[in-house]
């Protein structure tokens, strides 16, 4: 172990040299500051570029041509930095922020952010890794390791000329390897409604890459128990998981100073503040939600209250008090026992609340109010808008409401009765220090994102039979702009994480950068400017998903084109869109039972196929014929999917080994030498992941694992598996695709141009809500 740690340290060493902020940057920055309009060549191979009349004569300051060697070196350094935290045997990092606060983490995204990278291309790699992580909840570290592997392989194989072959590789080798090879080994978690037991295996494997060795099992157990209690129906539902992921900040509470084993699940919600007034009440009680101050004021902002006699003033004050009292009486009459307020209430309100037996909780955050509204289906009560005698309709029902001591802090514990599928439960996370609790909370939130991928499928985009070849080429052109168009990367000085820049900003950028482009002849009419922000849109699949609402129109149309092509072969193609995770319950319910049986059948068919070594026929061609009579349309749905929803593999490098094997297998059938080269590069790069995983152990070395696996693959035996954990193939496949897209993007960059206008940094990558 000492040696492997030392190796990890060695790999970390190149970081300060090539990535650290102590790069030649300061000198260059100083130069540009003094000579604002001059053009400075920064690196070897840089070309001076003059912009054709930017705004106010502002010119492009620096430009450099990225080289494959340089890219590979940067990626390798990044991989070195995260490799120490990769996999179940990885260690934790202690991040100390400029303010001094410490953060414990193994999260790849946090690590990459903390490195505060300087080179623009490295920042772009980190941004791609982070956006992949945001979309699937997993895999930032693996992304970087794989990227380093691919870039390193490409450099050795002879450079960026292979860029065009990447697309062909994906279509002709990768998809085929998955469809005909990998699919046979997948296990299905019961289609649309996975079991709870499998959930724990998934969670434990996921948390293995995120938490310390002693914490993952208890936390996985806790988390799966939590999911089970929150969604007591037959299995985890996407909408519940989405709610958990989105509202986890309000659904958990942390206590520092207690052992992790004290973590527990409580029914109901915990609001992390004390009662302003507490009146014990047994049994079911009604609660109202208010968002305004309940004590009327003498004068509101902008108005004036004129005191013209003593009696009037006295009477006004009395009126205010009486009004407050009347309101509380009314609440009592409506048997409301709990008042939840998003604002702080006056002492008088609290006083009367106590008198009339109404408990009060103040200062709820907007998120908490939203969560309560979502669970109970009520909207905030407007005390002064309606008639004061009628019944209060907007009341939520709670089964209990009591104080709760968390650590030394008094909290409010309310058992709301839910009106949706989600049964509210609160997770109490305990750990010796705050940092541990934060780490656990972040890991669990990521886990909920990962679990949402359970319900996603990967579509088969085209059939690559002989006659389909030309169509594929045509499709390449329309959906793969980045490979056809030479691009320029405009570095914005501060950040490359601009994929979430607002529309307006983006447009402004386009307008400005358009004028700065040197060789406009290369641009297609659709993409007038290739700012960095634009760069990521057309090619990166993950970003496609992320910016779904924005780009849905264009995306949809291009898909329609694909569908039309596909229809040439599949005339009975009814299915529209697998990937969009729209909660159409009816469709799901009817397909559930059938899908389960279908899955079983599909697996057996595939196995039989495997025995017969008839690898040339895809299973999807056979399955429909078997089910033709019973459920044509639904099996058609599944036959279209490259990877079905809920497909899993044992954790620990099995996916990579399998893909490695099948890529090599199918690469032999490809005539183009460039594609074959790419195939070898990717296949070898895939092995870098199990290498990183296994080389840190004493007993199971990588070589042993590799030879065993390949041996049994050759003999068509089942893989020797001694891991209980599972991982989602959807996430893994997306990772490979994202890495390939990132490589293509990196290789498509022609120039790196430094500009001087500051760009707002948008730190939040987690926008998983919007798809």
């Amino acid at each position: 172990m000492k040696t492997c740690r030392a190796r990890a340290a060695g790999l970390c060493a190149p970081l300060p040299r090539s990535l650290g902020p102590a790069a030649p940057r300061p000198a260059a920055a100083a130069r540009t500051r003094s000579r604002r309009l001059s053009l400075t060549a920064r690196r070897r191979g840089a070309v001076p570029v003059r912009a054709p009349g930017g705004r106010g004569g502002a010119a492009v300051a620096m430009a450099a041509r990225p080289e494959l060697g340089r890219l590979a070196q940067e990626a390798a350094a990044l991989a070195g930095a995260v490799r120490g935290a990769l996999g179940p045997r990885g260690g934790r990092a202690l991040l100390v922020r400029p303010g001094g606060e410490a953060l414990l983490t193994r999260d790849g995204r946090r690590l990459l952010e903390a490195l505060s990278l300087e080179p623009p291309t490295a920042r772009m790699m980190a941004a791609c890794a982070c956006s992949h992580r945001a979309a699937t909840g997993d895999g930032a570290k693996t992304f970087v390791v794989l990227l380093a592997g691919v870039l390193g392989g490409l450099r050795e194989a002879g450079g960026g000329g292979l860029r065009r072959a990447l697309r062909a590789f994906e279509a002709r080798v990768l998809e085929r390897a998955v469809a005909r090879g990998l699919r046979r080994h997948l296990r299905a978690l019961g289609g649309r409604q996975p079991e709870w037991g499998a959930l724990e295996a998934l969670l434990e494997a996921y948390l293995g890459g995120r938490l310390g060795p002693g914490e993952r099992r208890p936390l996985a157990r806790l988390c799966s128990e939590y999911c089970r209690r929150c969604a007591p129906a037959a299995g985890p539902r996407p909408q519940v998981l989405r709610l958990l992921g989105r509202r986890f900040a309000e659904l958990h509470a942390a206590v520092a100073g207690l052992p992790v084993a004290s973590s527990r699940i409580l029914p109901g919600l915990v609001l992390r503040r004390d009662f302003a007034a507490y009146c014990p009440a047994g049994g079911e009680l009604r609660a109202v939600l208010v968002t305004e101050a309940l004590r009327p004021t003498l004068s509101a902002p902008g108005t004036e209250f004129v005191v013209d006699s003593e009696g009037q003033y006295q009477a006004s004050l009395c009126w205010i008090t009486q009004r407050t009292e009347a309101l509380m009486k009314r609440l009592q009459r409506n048997s409301v026992k709990l008042l939840l307020s998003s604002v702080k209430q006056e002492e008088v309100v609290i006083h009367y609340a106590k008198l009339y037996g109404v408990s009060v909780v103040e200062c709820l955050s907007l998120e908490e109010v939203a969560l309560i509204c979502e669970i109970t289906g009520v909207s905030p009560y407007m005390p002064f808008s309606d008639n004061t005698d009628g019944e209060i309709t907007e009341t939520a029902v709670a089964t209990f409401c009591q104080p709760l001591l968390l650590g030394s802090k008094r909290c409010v514990h309310i058992g709301f009765t839910s009106v949706c599928a989600f049964q509210p439960h609160c997770l109490i996370l305990c750990g010796p220090v705050e940092g541990v609790n934060e780490q656990h909370a972040a890991a669990l939130q990521g886990a909920f994102t990962m679990l949402q991928q359970l319900f996603k499928t990967v579509d088969r985009r085209e059939e690559h039979q002989g006659e389909g070849e030309s169509q594929t080429e045509a499709l390449d052109v329309c959906s793969w702009h980045s490979s056809a168009i030479q691009k320029q990367l405009v570095t914005e000085g501060i950040s490359c994480n601009s994929n979430q820049v607002s529309e307006r900003q983006l447009k402004a950028h386009r307008d400005e950068t358009e004028t700065q482009i040197v060789n406009p002849g290369l641009q297609g009419s659709e993409y007038p400017a290739c700012v960095q922000t634009d760069l990521q849109i057309p090619s990166n699949l993950i970003l496609h998903i992320k910016e779904f609402d924005v780009a849905s129109e264009g995306d949809g149309s291009s898909r329609n084109v694909q569908k039309q092509h596909a229809k040439c072969e599949h005339t009975s193609n009814m299915h529209e869109d697998h990937r969009s995770d729209s909660p159409v319950v009816g469709q799901k319910n009817c397909s559930m039972a059938v899908s389960a049986t279908h899955n079983v059948n599909a697996v057996t068919v595939c196995e039989r196929l495997g025995v017969g070594k008839d690898l040339e026929k895809t299973s999807c061609n056979i399955v429909p014929s078997k089910h033709e009579k019973s459920c044509v349309s639904i099996t058609q749905n599944y036959s279209d999917a490259l990877i079905e929803a809920g497909s899993v593999l044992p954790v620990g490098g099995y996916f990579e080994i399998l893909l490695h094997y099948y890529i090599q297998y199918y690469a032999q059938q490809v005539e183009q030498s460039e594609v074959a080269v790419i195939s070898n590069v990717v296949a070898d790069a895939l092995l870098s992941i199990p290498k990183s995983l296994y080389n840190t152990t004493e007993q199971n070395s990588f070589t042993k694992f590799y030879l065993k696996a390949i041996h049994s693959l050759r003999k068509n035996q089942p893989l020797p598996v001694n891991e209980k954990g599972l991982e989602l193939v959807y996430c893994k496949y997306q990772l490979v695709i994202s890495v390939l897209h990132c490589v293509t993007e990196l290789l498509s960059i022609d120039l790196i141009i430094g500009i001087k206008r500051p760009l707002q940094k948008n730190e939040d990558y987690d926008s998983e809500d919007d798809f």
Partner: protein, 572 residues
Amino acid sequence: MSRLEAKKPLLFISEPLNKDTVSQSLSLLTGILKSCYGPAGRLKQLHNGVGGYVCTTSQSSAILSRLSVSHRVLSVLMASVQNHISRFSDCGLFTAILCCSLIENFKSLNVAPCTVIKISKHLLSLCMDYLKSEACGCRIWVDFSSVETLLCLVRSILTSKPACMLNKTEVDHLSTLILKAFLFTVPCHVESNAVLGKCVIVPVKGRRVVDSVVLPGLLIETPEIQLAKPPTVKRTCSNMIRIALFCVSMSGDGFNPEEGTITVHHGISIETLELNQLLNVGKQLVNDEVGLVVCQKVIHPSLKQYLKENRVIAVDRAGLSLMEPLSQMTGSKPIASVHLLSPSCYGSLKDVRIESFASKHFVHLIPNDTVVCSLILCNRNETAWDELKRTCETAEHVLQLTIKEPLALLGGGCTETHLASYIRHKSCSLSTSTFRDLDCSRTQYQLVADGFCRSLESVACSLNHDEGEILTDMVYGHCWFVPSGFPSVSNWSDLVSKCGCGINGNTENLNWRLLQGQFDSPAIQGCPRELSVKVVDFLTLDCFAAKCSGLQVALETANLILDLSYVIEDQN
């Protein structure tokens, strides 16, 4: 143009634990903490170098909050122990010392951190299962029907804080007082969810410790009340004293800050209005036969005078901290408006007296149901008083924890050595499937278990600050201290009289061995025997909940630190 600042490079430290600076700081910290531990612990004087307040202490809560550490890794340790202290008040030094020695012991093993963590987690679960099982030989049930065990518990806490400077009589006196104060806070009539009352500590510095006293009810300091003329308090027909509790200011400045403007015509005085309103309130209070008015904030002198003339005692500036116990004790609801008084807000008291301690005068409110009491705590000087106050709070907290879980652990190092011998015995008899589950070999397991046991034993050893030897017996696994000045090879039974916790006497041959020296193969060690329950008067006991949690937190923190593979520090 934006200002350009020189950006400092990122500090990237891989394998932080292997750095010399960390090891040095760690061993320094361990040294400081170990020297403070136990009744014979050495005192530390904390000062900031520019004069002023000096703190003499040996308590972890005082030391850790003021110590600054140079390395980030150690601040994780400090934060963890401080969090533990804020939860349990007790066993802070135990947690800190155990954590430090676990890190040092595990680091010196040539086993991968990941494996160490897995094994140590398993060891911890063995320990916790044992401590929670009926067969556990190092814990005793706390019998709430007699005060003996509770007194032992409190006494152990008081004696373990040498900076309080207490002699034996003072310890006895104070432990009785603390226990009495705690028993006051236990409600007499228990419903489904009972809430403990509160003990308020009233500081009196410059008096002897034996002058300390516990009184039921609350004391509110009132400098203006004359002792010479104790007022007679108005009582209601049922011989009770009615009390009104105000949480708003009664000084007549009661303007609520409003966002709009209020225009007052000439000739109208809002202040007079307010005062009239206050006097009206006063009238109503007198009419309602209220005998005592307590205000959290200030009462207007005119109102005070009016109330005094009508034989109503008015106490103001009570402060926010007293409001809750006052309300709890009297059953009154704090009144938040001087405009409408509701009779249902009033509470009742059994008696009100005027008391004086040292040079301070107090109004003493005596309730019917004593869930609130006051501990008048005296000590000779400021520093010693502060230490004593912390100790009393710890003792009260420990008693509260004990009532939840009526168990106590044997103190004086016996729990540590007993657990260590249990683990040594247990780790020899594990099945191979355990090792397969943990993905480790038997040797690795033995190594880690040995490190774990040595860490536990080193905590017991830290109790001894003299030259003397420390022994453990092979029968019960308890800890024995040999007075200094005897050669190490002698007949141990002549030298020891009682084990650390005081439960075992030197009656039978218990087969002692040196705790720290080389010993024979641990395989020969049998399972430590459980003691027959015998009540001994002067037992040293520790809080069960605090020590169990401390053990877990120490191990988890040590694992956390061992698991760190890099530190990334942004120095800007």
